[in-house]
Point group: C2
Chain length 383, copies 2
């Protein structure tokens, strides 16, 4: 395991973090540039709240868990201040994007901006001891809960005649509640964990196929429509490592075993036997998916699989889990990493060739790569 410890730790501390430290920090206007080309040059200056919040979370987390480096805290603060000053509305919602100087561009239609902001505030409150940021974290968390049954608000285009429940929200809440644990009431935490486990492992995890569906009917049954048939393998696998974390916390071996089996089942279902790699989207009935990008290979899908597999192996010692880890590991490092220029590519075509050679954009920022490197490093230290 020594080889893996060194590989993931060095990638985090000597490649990925230095890349973002060097190229992404906007000390003039505040916040971060996330649109970086393969060399780290900024190619677009707009600031999207997903990568703003996620990068502030990463640097706060590193400060809390890896090393008390003043530089990391300063970088985290640069993002937190920008989000507080320019990312929030008076109602405590979060814009989707703002201009370089903070002028709001896209309205808060997306509740995940709020989720990532709450995570960032919480980690930063721990790192800095800033009481006002702690209050913001808690306030944002409860604002998310208030909106959870209508996350898009006035921007919801569905008539409501055939509502579907989305997997994304219980999935992220299962992680968010642990992120905010120290600032929440113990009962609130346990209640949310119970709800999450039930939603994810009973409602969205389909017994018959063993797969996680992205959308189900309000009564939990499946719907035969584009959204109702949608499988997002990376989402399902990522949620399974959140479940393993909860299983460890509760010493719930059954939950860990069930999550592990689900990881393997999803991987078997979504692995591309022709060109290797994990598909981005699939249709549970094999119909044509509406996502034109369905066959592409995305960085986060593979990184979350590595985290999930390493954790599953730590707790189950299953040989098939290890074999899958090595398979995904080999594919990922061969195709996504860019040791010459730093960080990972994000988007490959089905054949495994780089489709977009940027290191960051509207959605990809400083998050999945460093979080996965950290998680794998620490998991291997425990194996």
């Amino acid at each position: 395991m020594k080889k893996y410890i060194k590989l993931y730790r060095d990638a985090l501390l000597k490649d990925v973090i230095p890349f973002w430290e060097k190229y992404s920090i906007d000390y003039n206007s505040g916040g971060y540039f996330s649109c970086l080309d393969r060399f780290g040059n900024v190619y677009d200056e707009d600031k999207f709240m997903w990568p703003q919040a996620r990068q502030a979370w990463v640097f706060s987390m590193l400060y809390n868990k890896v090393k008390k480096k003043r530089e990391w805290l300063k970088i985290a603060k640069n993002g937190i201040d920008f989000i507080k000053n320019h990312g929030m509305t008076n109602d405590g919602d979060f814009y989707f994007s703002v201009a370089k100087n903070g002028v709001p561009l896209i309205q808060p239609y997306n509740i995940f901006s709020d989720c990532f902001a709450a995570m960032a505030f919480s980690q930063y409150a721990v790192a800095s001891g800033d009481e006002s940021v702690k209050q913001l974290a808690v306030q944002t968390y409860f604002n998310i809960l208030k909106k959870q049954n209508n996350p898009k608000g006035a921007y919801e285009k569905s008539t409501g005649n055939r509502s579907l429940k989305s997997f994304a929200l219980p999935m992220i809440l299962s992680n968010l509640v642990l992120e905010l644990e120290q600032f929440l009431d113990k009962d609130e935490v346990e209640k949310m964990i119970d709800t999450s486990i039930n939603d994810i492992m009973t409602i969205f995890l389909d017994k018959e196929s063993g797969l996680i569906y992205e959308f189900v009917k309000p009564d939990g049954s499946l719907e035969n429509s584009f959204n109702g048939r949608l499988i997002n393998p990376g989402h399902g696998i990522e949620a399974m490592w959140f479940m393993i974390d909860i299983g460890v916390r509760r010493n719930d071996i059954d939950l860990i075993n069930k999550a592990t089996s689900t990881i393997i089942r999803i991987l078997e279902y979504s692995w591309d036997d022709k060109y290797d790699g994990i598909f981005y989207f699939m249709d549970a009935k094999g119909k044509p998916p509406q996502q034109l990008e369905w066959d592409q290979k995305l960085w986060w899908v593979h990184l979350e699989s590595l985290v999930a597999l390493s954790k599953a192996y730590l707790h189950t010692n299953r040989k098939d889990v290890w074999d899958w880890f090595e398979k995904v590991h080999d594919y990922s490092w061969k195709h996504f990493s860019d040791p010459k220029n730093g960080e990972w590519f994000g988007y490959l075509n089905r054949q495994g060739e780089v489709l977009l050679d940027m290191k960051g954009g509207k959605w990809k920022g400083c998050f999945h790569v460093p979080r996965a490197m950290y998680q794998c490093w620490k998991t291997f230290e425990n194996i």
Copy 2:
């Protein structure tokens, strides 16, 4: 030219139209199924207003321009009645989608549903002489004009702090006004044509690059952002044959020549020298586009190019135009057509392999293939 006349006419009348006649008509609930797999089997029963309206337009147009077949009028009526009874709100807006039985699913957030409905109503009013449908066509046209400065209404996510004008609307209006010509005031028609020519050929057509931009600032200047850099080659080329039609109508040789040069310029810019075919999206500054599907080859892009090139050749007799026609023709028939099962595939990967093997879906229906076959057939008869 005889070979091309026969090829495009036979494809229309012996392949494409029979395919939709055989598989798509829902005489039980009304309207059409657009989600058809490669063999014509229905794989999803939801009804999307884009393909509903476009198919009603195609069958009305065939009745008006090709042959007075009672069956075609009946098929058109089946769609028109469904749109009237289930596709419209009380305000005269059009849902994006409804269920098989007409229950509304997705709200009217998309003004193009209205544009295609107006086209369908107009062609059907001509075909049937139905006065109430004629009224609907005119009413829908003016409702579109009323909404044109805020086409998404309450669903607009932009804050308005950095508004951009979209090319799609003037482009479609330049075609729509000719579709409705017989039912509109002469002054209204000429005014709209003047506005469209100016918008398209002066504002969105960039002098320096010779390319059509998808979005410009309100003052017509370019913006350095994802949307501001976006080039949609198929859109630009399609608009150029609308301009040629207007040029013919007005006997404006300069407009025809300028449109022809723009077609060639866009093709040179967006042709994939490695695998052939026309890219779906490009970034004018060569930055990574935000559309993950940017390198795919889409049926409508190639078909609209064939229409544009055939019309440009008819009116200019330029050899380079003819060479481009043959190049796009050869690529398209080789990769998109499916003589064994009928109709064309819609979505190829960059390499030209079929990415989604359906014949119709949420966006692809009975429209671009038959319209292009008809247009090329008729154009070749005039060459």
